[in-house]
Structures are given as structure tokens and as C-alpha cells.
């Protein structure tokens, strides 16, 4: 069930109605049942996959908590993690492994007896709930209390607002909110939930989907695109990706707040980061948090010497890249982020050595700040090329277009001759939209928040109508649904 569908609206209304009429202690069980309905509308067989993994994880967590033997605990932990990763690996990466195997055998000149591809459907949200399950197992291994029963653990995994595309929430963040039953949400909280829902739909329908209309044709056939068109498409895709995911997260958080359960935020104006490490603290915060806690820190984090820190960063971001999808383009994406963030760590160390005590003065200098923002913004926007391209060859074609500056100026001049600044206008608008987030939020909080609730409701109604008027003819599913 897509969040942008009539079914979802009806589903939400019915579920919320039931939520309000039920006594608090039965509410999360009802939400669990609703979550199964939500998931089953997409695929009933894959419910079995979730049932299997949640049962294994719950059992493992009980063993981990009850057993004192470190060896046995470690073995149990690894067994459970491997089961989760095998399920993920089979559904998400098996065809990629077959590709690699076929390429290797071809290179070695050995006959390939394996099938070229298997028809494997990807269970919706598998990357997210696998990471949540692993975080739960590791937390219990580190001493946290496990879920008291299978249902409560199952609710943590299945809760529908975060099931498909996150945010990746921890058990100890969600459990305290429903362990004693779920109370009626406060009036202000319902208002906040509705506000997030409307904002989410606006981001998705007005900005992201219309950006898709600009970016899709170019990325489908980059060699046929003009240089100016490629610039427009790259910027438009940055906008599409950010606002699509931001929209999804807002809808997920808003829907959850309606049920009086708070989900963590996932974005903090990532396009305004001043370096790539900062970007990863602002982009998909719940995933970066997971990677930091369960991968980067166990690898040694930044506690050791610089090359080791760089290697740890590199490995962590490679995993982040591959987590997004199975294919060489995601490997390249991981490499890109790994090199950039590791490079930033090296630059920071070098800068400190070069400027010593003056480092802070230089870092805070407006020129340095401005340059840092521009460079980071460019790197982030370029990362979208790796993300969106359908093949490595297409990535190269897009980058080839992006470095043809002379042709770019010629095309701008040609457009100017016929007074057509549409593409230039789209580029400028996208830059403004992408970087104006913090200022818009400030304005929003100053002007909109103090308004009485009935005025807010009226504004929300008008905003929903705007969504309806401005939405594209074809509404694509959320980008992160594929992960």
C-alpha cells in the first residue's frame, strides 16, 4: 500500500478510528494487526519472511539475555545476524552475486552452469527491518533488556509507518512508548501529526514528482540530452531524491504521531552541510546512527591513527552504498562517499597541521564557510548521478556532459537568443529550494506556528488542494521503497 493512494487514506482513517475507540492497552495489538494488513496488501507470502526472521530474532534475544556464557552468547548473536543477512542477501543480492560469478567465470574462461538471473521479488522494507533486527540483537547482546514477548518485538518491527522505508528506530526508543499501552494523543500532537502529513504530501507531490518529470527523460537517455539539460536534470534529481525521502519521512512521522508514537527525525537540512562528514550526520540520520553505532565504532571509529580512521570511514560508507542496492552503481556510490568522507578526515588533519592555532579562525572565516558549503553542495548533488544512473556507462556519459563547460555556455547563449531561460530558471530555482531549508523553517516557525489551530487547518486544506492541482499526471512510488 502506497502512502500516496486512496487505499492508504481509507486505511489510516479506519485504523485511527479503531485506535481511538479501543482501550489504551489493546491499541498496539490493533496497530500490529493493521500493520500486517498494510504489508499483506502488497504481498501475503512475504509476511512469512518477516514472521520467520522476527521469530529467530526474538528467540535469539531471549537466549542472549538469559545465558551467561560469553562464547555461547557470541555464537547465538552471530547465528541470528547471519540468518538475517542470509535472508537479506538472498532476496536483495543473489542476482548481483550471480552477475559477479558469471563475469568472473567468463574472465577465467570457465563454463557457467549457474542460471544468469533468478526471478526474485524483493520484500518491501527488507533492508530496513533487517537493520532494525540487527540493532535489537546487538543491543540485547550489550545488555539491554529484550522484548517481554514475541508480539511486542513483532510490533517494533512491523509498525507500519516505519516498516517500508524507515526511519530505522531502536527497540528502546519505541518500546517505552507502548509498553504501558498507548494513550490518546494530545490535541497538539494530532495537529503536529497532520502538519507533518500535509508537508510530506507537499514535498512528494509538488516538488519531488515534478522534479522527476525533469530528471527522468535525461537519465533514461543521457547521450541524447544537451549539456544544459543534463545540469538541469542533475539538480532536479537532487531535489527529487531529497524531497521524495523527506516527504516519506514526514508522512511516516506524521502518521505515527496520530497514534501517539514518536519516530525519530531523519533529516536535518543535509544540503546545507559544510563537509561530507557533516552531510552524513544530516542525511538519513537513523541510518547513519545505525552505521556509526554498529559498524564504525566496533571497527575502531576515530580512536586510532588517521589511516585506520579513514579505512573505517571508507568501509562504513561502502556498506552504506551497497545497502542501498545490489549493483555496481551502488558500489560506485559507496566508493564515492567513502573517498569523500575519508578525504575530508585527511583534509581536516592536514588543515590543523598547516594552520595550527589559526585553524579555528580560518574555519570560521566567511569565505572558508562559503567555499566549504559550495564544494559540499556540489559533491552531494553529483552523488545523485551515481544514485540515479541506470548503469556505470550512463554515469560516465552524464559526467562527460557535466564537464563540457564551453558547450554549456554556448547552449545558454542559444537559449538566450530565443529568450528561453526555462532550464536556467529551473537550475536556479532548484539551488534555491535545496539550500533555503533552514531559512524557510525559521520563517515557518515564526509565522505559522503561532497561528490558532483552525487557521492552520485552513492552510493545510489549501495546501492539500495545491498538492492535488500541482501533482504530476503520473505519481511514481517513493524512491526508497525499492530498498
Amino acid at each position: 500500500m502506497n502512502f500516496i493512494s486512496t487505499q492508504f487514506v481509507i486505511f489510516m482513517l479506519v485504523t485511527w478510528g479503531l485506535f481511538l475507540v479501543l482501550p489504551p492497552r489493546y491499541r498496539w495489538q490493533m496497530l500490529l494487526a493493521a500493520s500486517y494488513v498494510f504489508y499483506a496488501t502488497w504481498s501475503i507470502p512475504f509476511v512469512a519472511v518477516i514472521l520467520l526472521t522476527t521469530s529467530v530474532d526474538y528467540l535469539a534475544s531471549k537466549i542472549l539475555y538469559a545465558n551467561a556464557s560469553p562464547q555461547f552468547r557470541k555464537m547465538t548473536l552471530w547465528t541470528a545476524i547471519v540468518v538475517n543477512l542470509l535472508v537479506l542477501g538472498y532476496f536483495k543480492y543473489f542476482n548481483f552475486f550471480l552477475d559477479i560469478n558469471a563475469s568472473l567465470l567468463k574472465y577465467l574462461g570457465v563454463a557457467n552452469t549457474m542460471p544468469k538471473h533468478l526471478e526474485i521479488l524483493l520484500p518491501l522494507g527488507i533492508s530496513y527491518y533487517t537493520f532494525e533486527a540487527i540493532s535489537y540483537l546487538l543491543d540485547v547482546y550489550r545488555g539491554a533488556k529484550p522484548a517481554p514477548n514475541w508480539l511486542s518485538y513483532n510490533f517494533y518491527i512491523m509498525y507500519f509507518p516505519h516498516l517500508i522505508s524507515g526511519p530505522i528506530v531502536r527497540f528502546n526508543e519505541l518500546w517505552p512508548q507502548y509498553k504501558d499501552g498507548i494513550q490518546n494523543p494530545a490535541f497538539a500532537r494530532v495537529g503536529k501529526g497532520l502538519e507533518l502529513l500535509v508537508l510530506g504530501y507537499m514535498f512528494k507531490l509538488i516538488i519531488a514528482d515534478n522534479c522527476a518529470g525533469i530528471a527522468d527523460p535525461v537519465f533514461a537517455k543521457p547521450e541524447a540530452a544537451t549539456v544544459l539539460g543534463t545540469y538541469t536534470a542533475v539538480l532536479a534529481f537532487a531535489g527529487q531524491l531529497y524531497f521524495d525521502f523527506l516527504g516519506y519521512t514526514h508522512i511516516a512521522r506524521g502518521a505515527s504521531l496520530m497514534f501517539n508514537l514518536q519516530l525519530p527525525i531523519n533529516f536535518n537540512h543535509p544540503l546545507n552541510a559544510d563537509n561530507m562528514a557533516d552531510f552524513w550526520k544530516r542525511w538519513q540520520i537513523s541510518l547513519s546512527r545505525w552505521l556509526h553505532d554498529y559498524l564504525y565504532v566496533p571497527l575502531g571509529g576515530s580512536r586510532k591513527y588517521l589511516p585506520r580512521t579513514m579505512l573505517n570511514v571508507f568501509i562504513t560508507l561502502m556498506v552504506a552504498g551497497i545497502w542501498h542496492g545490489a549493483g555496481w552503481i551502488y558500489v560506485v556510490l559507496g566508493l564515492y562517499f567513502g573517498v569523500n568522507v575519508a578525504g575530508y578526515h585527511a583534509w581536516r588533519r592536514l588543515r590543523k597541521k598547516l594552520f595550527k592555532t589559526k585553524d579555528k579562525v580560518i574555519v570560521n572565516h566567511p569565505l572558508y564557510v562559503c567555499a566549504a558549503h559550495i564544494v559540499t553542495f556540489t559533491l552531494i548533488v553529483l552523488s545523485g548521478v551515481f544514485f540515479r544512473s541506470t548503469s556505470v556507462q550512463n554515469e560516465l556519459v552524464v559526467f562527460d556532459h557535466l564537464i563540457r563547460f564551453k558547450k554549456l555556455f554556448e547552449e545558454i547563449a542559444a537559449a538566450a537568443r530565443v529568450d528561453n531561460f526555462t532550464e536556467v530558471g529551473i537550475c536556479l530555482s532548484m539551488i534555491v529550494i535545496l539550500i533555503s531549508g533552514p531559512y524557510v523553517v525559521r520563517l515557518y516557525e515564526r509565522l505559522y506556528q503561532p497561528m490558532p489551530y483552525w487557521v492552520k487547518l485552513q492552510t493545510a486544506t489549501a495546501a492539500l488542494l495545491l498538492c492535488w492541482i500541482f501533482c504530476a499526471e503520473y505519481i511514481p512510488p517513493f524512491i526508497y521503497f525499492q530498498f
Binding site: R170, N172, E173, W175, P176, Q177, Y178, I182, Q183, N184, P185, A186, F187, A188, R189, G213, I214, P217, V218, A220, K221, A224, A225, G229, N260, L261, Q262, P264, I265, N268, D278, K281, R282, I285, R289, H292, D293, A415, R417, V418, D419, N420, F421, T422, G425, S429, Y453, W454, V455, L457, Q458, T459, T461, A462, L465, W468, I469, F470, E473, Y474
Partner: protein
């Protein structure tokens, strides 16, 4: 009691992020604040105010939409040109008078001078009314919609001349703004919903709410201003369509917009078409305009079912536009010719193929004929109709008449603002009757 439940703050990274000041405290902050539970009457009062506020907002938005739509003369169907064509379609013919309907997009609307064709046919003794019901930016569904209404008003003998344009790149359903929601809903039998109550509700909204009925126009008008800022000239035509009333349509439906050839207009139109092709048909002109061709079949079906003589018409493009079109759409003239010929052979209809012309002076831009070109091409169409009168005209008339003197000077170019053989605008401005939906 309504509460804001607490979240946990024990995550190690939470502490890290908080120390660095980069994290969002909202995620981790323990929230213990509770709010006073409102009583039942308070909740009911708030809920009622909320419902009233939403209704007021909806009414306000509807009023605003009406203002935006009515900035100019309000269009009953998607746009002014469509209204004019509907007025023409709903004007009854003299009883038993046969008619030839020209259907298609702006190419036909602006390029086929029906008054002239009618005059030419009359000269040869064929007392036939010729009406141009083509509408700029229309889609086959729009065209059939107009035709359906025309035939309900004048169910006499008629034939159709249907324009097959070069891939329908300018008439994608999301771009075209022919009849808009109302017409489409009527044509597609209202709605896809299977529940009668939803069907009724949907139709009621489309008939009475401007927000629903003119959604496409609203989107165009609201986006027109930023478009004007960034490309003031190339969208002059769009602006004309959006903000002005097309008063210069001839009595038989010819809408001559551009009187003369303008080299700059050509360059602009090619640039615009390129953008449209890139945005709407990135892969292949013919493949991506599949829906248009699917609906073309509906026109054939219609003709076959009603046993109506039908003719396909392929109008010319400017030679430079044809090259640009071939490059952008990856479709050559030969391929298109074969496609149209195959369709004509399959459906057993005639194809008037006028697409090869090297004369740039016939064009106002890349693909629309100017007044000179329109006269020239319309003469050719009349010639073809007369040459194949046994197929096109005799079945309509039932007999062949003798020669007569011409009533229109067919040699001179025509000023677009004063259509030749102009009749009283009374018929054109007659009130539109909207038939009740099926």
C-alpha cells in the same frame, strides 16, 4: 488522559551527537510534558470548529479558483478555442444538409481553411457544409467528444477528415488542455470507480466545482507567471491560449493565428518542440505517444461502427522542423508515411498526404501554416476531395451537380484578422448547450 509519551535518550550516539551539537535533540529528548485533558464538550467544540474551518477553506479555494479561471472570459470547456469549436459543433445544420467535419489538433485548426474548401465544393455543385472542429492541443478523446456533440445536434449525412499528426508530441494528455476534466470524464463514462455513488459524486464535482473541472487550467495559469519570467517570448502562444479569447475564428471554424512567415518564430518553435519532445517523449515519439495512437483506433472504430466515410489527413511541416523532428523523435518521414499508409490500408480509408512541401513561406512557425499556406493547402485538400469525389462527396450528396462560379478569391493571401467569407458572429456567439452526461 492524553499525553505525549516519552522517548528514550540512552542511545550512545545520542550523547555523541548532542555533545557535538549536530544532532536533533528532538529525537532523543525525553518528553514528559503532559497536557490537560479537554472535556467532551471541549473536544466536540474543537472538532466542530475544525470541520467548519476546513469547509470555509474549501469554499474560499473554490472562490479563488473561480476568480483565476474567470480572469478572462470563462471557458466552459478546457479553453476558449474549444468553446468556440463546441459552439460551432452545437450549431445545427439545415436539415438534411450533409457535412464534412475536419478533426485534429492546432495544425488543422489553423491550417485548414474550411470556408474556402466549402466554397470550392459548392462551385463544383456539392452543397456540403464543411466545418473545422479541430482544436489546438486536443487529444483524440477531445476530438471525439466534439464530434459526438455535433452529431447529436445534426445527425445527418457526414464524413470525417481526421488529421494524423507527427507523433502527437504536442498533445500528450498531461500537456494538452482540450476539454479538461469534464469532457474527459464524460467521454470516459465519467470515472473509473465501480461504485455508482462515487460516480455520481465525481460527476457532480466535475460539473459544479471549478477546482475539479478546471484543474489543468488552474495549474497552467498558476505556473504561467514563473514561466513568463524565465522565458518571456517562447511562451507567447501559451500565454495567448491561457489569457486571451480567440475571437478570430472563422464561421466554419478556421482559426488563423499567424498571418506571415517569421524566421524567428520558426527558431522558437523548434526550440519549444525540442523541449516538449525531451520532456514528454524522451524515448521515441511513436512509442511514447502510444495512447494517442490507441485513441486513433477509437476514431477508426467510430467511423466503422457508424459507417461514416473517413479520410486521413497528413499536413506538412516546415522542412527545418521536419529535420529537427526526425533527429529528436528518431522517426523519419518514410517510417511515418509507411505507418499512416498501413493504417489507411487496414482501415480502408483514404490518406490525403500533403506532408511534403519545401515552401518555407507557407509556415508561420515550424509546424503551423500561416494564412498563405493555409489557403494553398486548403486548395490542395479541396482538389483531392474533388478528385476522389466518388469516395468523399458522392455518398454524401447522392448526386453530382454541375459547375458554378467561385464565391471566394482563392488566389490571394488572407489577413488573419478578417477571415474571408466571414459571416455574422451571431451563430458563433450563440449560447452553448451542454448535454446531460450519459
Amino acid at each position: 488522559m492524553p499525553v505525549e509519551t516519552e522517548t528514550n535518550a540512552n542511545s550512545p550516539i545520542a550523547a555523541d551527537l548532542s555533545r557535538e551539537g549536530k544532532g536533533h535533540p528532538e529525537v532523543f529528548k525525553v518528553r514528559l510534558r503532559t497536557s490537560r485533558a479537554p472535556g467532551r464538550s471541549e473536544t466536540a467544540k474543537r472538532t466542530l470548529i475544525a470541520i467548519a474551518a476546513v469547509l470555509v477553506a474549501l469554499a474560499f479555494c473554490e472562490a479563488l479558483a473561480r476568480v483565476v479561471i474567470c480572469i478572462t472570459k470563462p471557458a466552459i470547456y478546457g479553453n476558449q478555442e474549444m468553446d468556440a469549436k463546441m459552439r460551432l459543433a452545437l450549431t445545427p445544420l439545415p436539415k438534411d444538409k450533409p457535412c464534412i467535419y475536419f478533426l485534429g489538433t492546432s495544425h488543422t485548426s489553423r491550417g485548414v481553411y474550411t470556408d474556402l474548401i466549402e466554397s470550392r465544393l459548392k462551385d463544383k455543385g456539392y452543397d456540403v457544409e464543411v466545418r473545422n472542429l479541430a482544436c489546438g492541443g486536443s487529444f483524440p478523446s477531445d476530438e471525439l467528444f466534439i464530434l459526438q456533440h455535433a452529431l447529436e445536434k445534426s445527425p445527418y449525412r457526414f464524413s470525417i477528415v481526421y488529421e494524423c499528426n507527427q507523433g502527437g508530441f504536442a498533445a500528450q494528455p498531461n500537456y494538452a488542455f482540450g476539454v479538461g476534466a469534464l469532457g474527459k470524464s464524460l467521454y470516459y463514462k465519467n470515472t473509473q470507480s465501480n461504485w455508482p455513488i462515487f460516480k455520481k459524486f465525481d460527476l457532480w464535482m466535475k460539473q459544479h466545482l471549478y477546482l475539479v473541472r478546471f484543474r489543468t487550467i488552474l495549474k497552467q495559469r498558476l505556473t504561467a507567471i514563473p514561466k513568463m519570467v524565465f522565458s518571456p517570448n517562447p511562451i507567447v502562444w501559451e500565454r495567448k491560449k491561457v489569457f486571451s479569447v480567440q475571437d478570430d475564428i472563422s464561421p466554419q471554424g478556421w482559426a488563423p493565428v499567424y498571418p506571415v512567415y517569421d524566421a524567428k518564430m520558426l527558431e522558437k518553435s523548434i526550440a519549444i518542440r525540442k523541449v516538449q519532445v525531451e520532456y514528454f517523449n524522451p524515448d521515441d515519439g511513436l512509442n511514447s505517444s502510444r495512447e494517442r495512437y490507441y485513441l486513433l483506433d477509437r476514431v477508426f472504430d467510430f467511423a466503422r461502427y457508424r459507417q461514416v466515410p473517413m479520410t486521413m489527413l497528413w499536413l506538412p511541416l516546415h522542412p527545418k522542423m521536419r529535420d529537427a523532428f526526425t533527429a529528436q523523435m528518431h522517426v523519419t518521414d518514410e517510417q511515418l508515411t509507411k505507418k499512416f499508409q498501413r493504417a489507411a490500408a487496414l482501415e480502408k480509408v483514404d490518406l490525403i498526404d500533403l506532408h511534403i512541401t519545401q515552401n518555407a513561406q507557407y509556415f508561420a512557425d515550424g509546424d503551423h501554416l500561416n494564412a498563405i499556406g493555409s489557403v494553398e493547402i486548403s486548395n490542395k485538400i479541396a482538389d483531392q476531395l474533388l478528385a476522389n469525389s466518388a469516395t468523399h462527396l458522392d455518398p454524401l450528396i447522392g448526386k453530382k451537380a454541375g459547375d458554378a462560379k467561385p464565391t471566394v478569391d482563392t488566389t490571394l493571401p488572407v489577413d488573419s484578422k478578417t477571415p474571408v467569407n466571414a459571416k455574422s458572429p451571431v451563430e458563433i456567439n450563440a449560447p452553448v448547450e451542454v448535454d446531460s452526461p450519459q
